[in-house]
Every structure is written in structure tokens, then in C-alpha cells.
């Protein structure tokens, strides 16, 4: 059974320079409570993987906590571009490793299976290999066809947020699982924050307790991102961040009392 932790205990596990994979996608199910704990502890030089990022990446960039960012895209969805992400890339202030959605999944699957790389047809004939040292074009040894070899990328930690967990540690959510399952299987340790506890019904679970090392009870732990169906995106909060632009600070992402 996964261990139960407080969010404040997280910095004791995750040190400077760790590679953390952040679950959710876009403005849904970002583990903001967990990330705020890392920011409050002053973590630095983090290597961050966010499949489709939003305010998760913005928070860590605004706190100066990021050295390297792996992502297929970061934005505030309908509210527009993500200001700190945009500035970081234009200034070159973090190492940005650009992935496609498909190649990032390959990198996680390779890590989960324990193989050094996996071949795919994705990203062939694009500029991505020049922007991502985990991608290398080659030839299939059987057919000679061009393939993109994707090197395994194993996060030290996966930080996920779900609607609920049960007593045994199974995780439940409604809506898109995104890459949470792949991150959980690939990461060294998996920490899942949750809004609620619920009765056990493992056949309906989204993530098995087999892949979860610790859980953190964090009501509204995704705020201001959404956690369907418990809470929607706080549109005013997202708009406030977008309006502040590069002046947006971590204080804007402190939850209301």
C-alpha cells in the first residue's frame, strides 16, 4: 500500500536537480499543491517534464526552479501563450528539449520497459532531432526503412493529481488520463495528490496501486487548473496570470483562503 505523506514532506524526497514528470495535460489535473511545496522549499535546477504544460511550468519558471524543460507544448489554452515559458525560450534561460506528443510517449515507454530506445515513424523529416538529443534518425535493421530512434527518458519522480484514491491506494479520475499512466510506469518514484478519499472499486481505477509509492491528501490540489468533475478551471485565475505576463509571480498562484 502506498505511503501517505504531507505535501510539506515532498522537498525531503525531491532534491535540487531532480528530473520530475508532471501529470495532467493543459489546464487539467496539474499537481499544483505539490509543486508549490517544492517552490516554497526553494528547489533549484530541476529538470522538468510536462507533456502538455500550462501553469505547472509557469509556476516553476517564475520561481527560478527550472534548469531543463521537456515538453511537447506549453500554453494557457484559450487564454493564450504562457508568458514565462515564452520568455525562457526566447532568452535561452532554460534548456528546452522539444518533443512531439508521440515521441515523448515513446521515451516514457522505453524507460518503463527498461530498453535503451524505441523506434517510431514520428518526427521523421522534421527539425525535432536538431532540437532534442533524445531523438536520432536511423534505419530499421530488418527492412532498411527510416525510423526515429527515441532514447528512454526515466523521470526520478512523477507528480500526479487525481480526484480520489481509495484505502488500498488505487487512483481514480474522470476525464482524460493523458500520460499519467506512462509517467507512473516509467518514473523511479510516483507521488499522487488527491482531492478525496473514496471506497475501493479497483475495476474502475485509472491507476493501479502497483505504480504508486506515496499519496498526498490535497483538497483543491490542482487549483487553479481543473480536476474534472470535482472542479473546473479557475478561468479568472488563469486570465489574471495571462494578463500579468512576465510580471506574474508565484504569489498569484497561492490559493484563496
Amino acid at each position: 500500500m502506498p505511503e501517505s505523506l504531507s505535501a510539506e514532506a515532498l522537498p525531503g524526497l525531491i532534491g535540487d536537480g531532480a528530473l520530475i514528470a508532471i501529470g495532467g495535460a493543459g489546464l487539467q489535473r496539474k499537481p499544483m499543491r505539490l509543486l508549490r511545496a517544492l517552490v516554497a522549499a526553494g528547489r533549484r535546477e530541476l529538470r522538468v517534464m510536462s507533456f502538455l504544460g500550462s501553469l505547472d511550468v509557469e509556476l516553476l519558471l517564475a520561481a527560478g526552479a527550472v534548469a531543463e524543460l521537456h515538453s511537447a507544448g506549453v500554453s494557457l489554452d484559450a487564454a493564450g501563450l504562457a508568458p514565462h515559458y515564452r520568455a525562457a525560450r526566447e532568452r535561452g534561460s532554460v534548456r528546452f528539449v522539444e518533443w512531439s506528443e508521440g515521441t515523448l510517449l515513446c521515451a516514457l515507454e522505453a524507460a518503463a520497459r527498461g530498453v535503451p530506445s524505441l523506434p517510431t515513424w514520428q518526427a521523421l523529416d522534421t527539425d525535432l532531432p536538431a532540437l532534442n538529443p533524445w531523438l536520432r534518425e536511423g534505419r530499421d535493421p530488418f527492412t532498411g526503412a527510416a525510423v526515429m530512434n527515441v532514447r528512454a527518458l526515466r523521470p526520478d519522480f512523477a507528480l500526479l493529481h487525481v480526484a480520489a484514491v481509495d484505502e488500498a491506494g488505487y487512483a481514480y479520475l474522470d476525464g482524460d488520463l493523458a500520460y499519467d499512466g506512462a509517467m507512473a510506469r516509467a518514473a523511479g518514484e510516483v507521488i499522487v495528490s488527491h482531492d478525496q478519499r473514496r471506497g475501493g472499486e479497483p475495476r474502475l481505477a485509472a491507476l493501479s496501486r502497483l505504480w504508486i509509492d506515496a499519496t498526498v491528501h490535497a483538497p483543491h490540489g490542482a487549483w487553479p487548473t481543473g480536476c474534472h468533475p470535482l472542479s473546473g478551471v479557475d478561468s479568472a485565475g488563469v486570465a489574471a496570470w495571462a494578463s500579468a505576463g512576465q510580471e506574474a509571480t508565484v504569489a498569484l498562484l497561492e490559493p484563496p483562503a
Binding site: A25, G26, L27, Q28, L52, S71, A72, G73, V74, S75, D77, A78, A79, L81, A82, Y85, R86, A87, R89, E90, G92, E98, W99, S100, E101, G102, T103, L105, E109, W121, Q122, A123, L124, D125, T126, D127, L128, A130, L131, D174, G175, D176, L177, A178, Y179, G181, A182, A206, G226, H228, P229, G232, V233, S235, A239
Partner: protein, 258 residues
């Protein structure tokens, strides 16, 4: 852009999807959700809508606060493996709408940045799934404007490659509908302002011969279907001007919160 053009393009997309023969459509924006839902009423009742990575047969709705395109489904759906969307792409069984920042004369796409690869003058969201469309799946590009910033001779960063031979790639803009062939993009039909707009993006390479049909009104049956599936007109937000878009977005967000 006027609501009339937004409706004309979304109705055209709905008809395209309905007649394409695809079984699975991956929605990416509120307008694409509306078009796909309308397509079900226009002769494709069994069309599956991929609403996110783990719900390939979901029930999305046109919305602005429920994921990037109302992707959170109404009611329970079968939970697919997130990798299955790439299986569907590889097998050519999926259609998708994409809105890259740049689209070029050879069908390459860019959503990474403006400027040299790796050194963007203007950083954009990122490649997203564009590099994963190198298949014979059907892709529609849907733009709110038709101009030289988006439609270029060569993209700054190649996120999406030139599609393989035989892959259907169609472009819908306020100028009309265009299809990519061996010799570049050609017009299938134009709007009333189409010829004038095409002339604003000469590097994109569309050459008109004056015989292109002109479509002045939305497909009435498709528009009626759109009104049924999207009665609040959420589909029009992504086509709205800089002044109107935030107002429409706030109104939709308040309605969804209620």
C-alpha cells in the same frame, strides 16, 4: 472576423468530415468539436470523437473551460491506452483538425517558434502532435485569417513534415478551401473575398485561374446542425477578433461555470 465567415468555415468543415469516410475524428478546438458533432447529423452518425488521449470514443462538447476543446466528456467512456491514438494515426483511420502557426507551400507545419530552430524570436507553444501526423490520415487546417504570416513558402521550424503521397490535406480559411497536391495547394472553392485574400499570401503559391466556384453562404443543412450542437456559438470564439475574443471567452466561461 464576422460570425458569418466563422459559420461558413465551420459548416464546410462539418460537411468535409461527414463525407470523408473516416471513423474516428480527433477534436482539437471548440470549432472542431462543433463541426464533428454536426458531422454526425450530416450522414456520419457512428463517427467516434477522440476527446483527449484516453477517450478515443468520447462525448466532448464545444466549451472553453473543459480542457482545450471541451475534451472532458459528458458521462463515462471507455478508457483507451493513450498510445492508441498513434495506432489510429499509423493505420490512417483518423481525421484531425490542426492549427499550426505556419503552413507552407509543401504542406509542412510549424508551432514551435518564429525564427531559427532552437533560437526563436517568438516562441510558440511547441510542436504538439504535428510531427506525429506523418501518415495518410486526413488533416484539415483551419485558420481564422488568410495572410502572409501564416501561409508561407517555407516554415521557420519544420514540426510537421510534408505529408506522404495520397494523404488528404485540406485548408479552410476566410479565402476558401484548398487542397494539397503534387504541385502545391490549389483552390477547391473560394469565398466572396477569396481572390483578394489569396493575393495577400503569394509565397504560399496558390494560383487562381478564375474558374473556381465561389461559396457565399454557409451550407444551410450543415449550419442548422451546428446550431443544434452548439447553440451558444462557442465555435465562433476562435475566429473572433482581438477585441471580441476575450469578451466571448469570458461569457462562455461564465456560462459553463454556472
Amino acid at each position: 472576423m464576422s460570425a458569418a465567415i466563422a459559420d461558413l468555415l465551420t459548416a464546410a468543415l462539418a460537411r468535409e468530415i461527414a463525407t470523408s469516410g473516416i471513423r474516428l475524428f480527433a477534436v482539437t478546438t471548440p470549432a472542431s468539436v462543433a463541426a464533428a458533432l454536426a458531422a454526425r447529423e450530416l450522414g456520419a452518425p457512428e463517427l467516434a470523437l477522440a476527446a483527449g488521449f484516453s477517450a478515443l470514443d468520447g462525448a466532448p462538447e464545444p466549451a472553453v473551460t473543459r480542457g482545450e476543446a471541451g475534451l472532458l466528456t459528458r458521462g463515462p467512456t471507455f478508457r483507451d491506452d493513450p498510445g492508441d491514438v498513434f495506432v489510429a494515426l499509423a493505420r490512417g483511420r483518423v481525421g484531425v483538425v490542426a492549427q499550426p502557426a505556419q503552413l507552407d507551400a509543401s504542406g509542412r507545419t510549424n508551432l514551435s517558434g518564429i525564427g531559427e530552430p532552437g533560437h526563436p524570436r517568438v516562441a510558440l507553444p511547441g510542436a504538439r502532435g504535428l510531427p506525429d501526423h506523418r501518415t495518410r490520415s486526413r488533416v484539415w487546417y483551419l485558420y481564422a485569417t488568410h495572410g502572409p504570416r501564416q501561409l508561407v513558402k517555407r516554415v521557420d521550424v519544420v514540426c510537421g513534415a510534408t505529408p506522404p503521397p495520397g494523404a488528404l490535406r485540406r485548408l479552410l480559411t476566410p479565402a476558401g478551401c484548398f487542397e494539397l497536391g503534387e504541385r502545391g495547394w490549389r483552390a477547391l472553392w473560394l469565398t466572396a473575398a477569396g481572390a483578394e485574400l489569396v493575393a495577400t499570401a503569394p509565397a504560399f503559391g496558390v494560383v487562381l485561374d478564375g474558374a473556381e466556384p465561389v461559396l457565399e453562404q454557409p451550407d444551410a443543412e450543415a449550419l442548422a446542425a451546428l446550431e443544434r450542437v452548439d447553440p451558444h456559438g462557442v465555435r465562433r470564439i476562435e475566429f473572433a477578433s482581438g477585441v471580441d475574443a476575450p469578451r466571448l471567452w469570458r461569457a462562455a466561461a461564465e456560462r459553463e461555470a454556472a
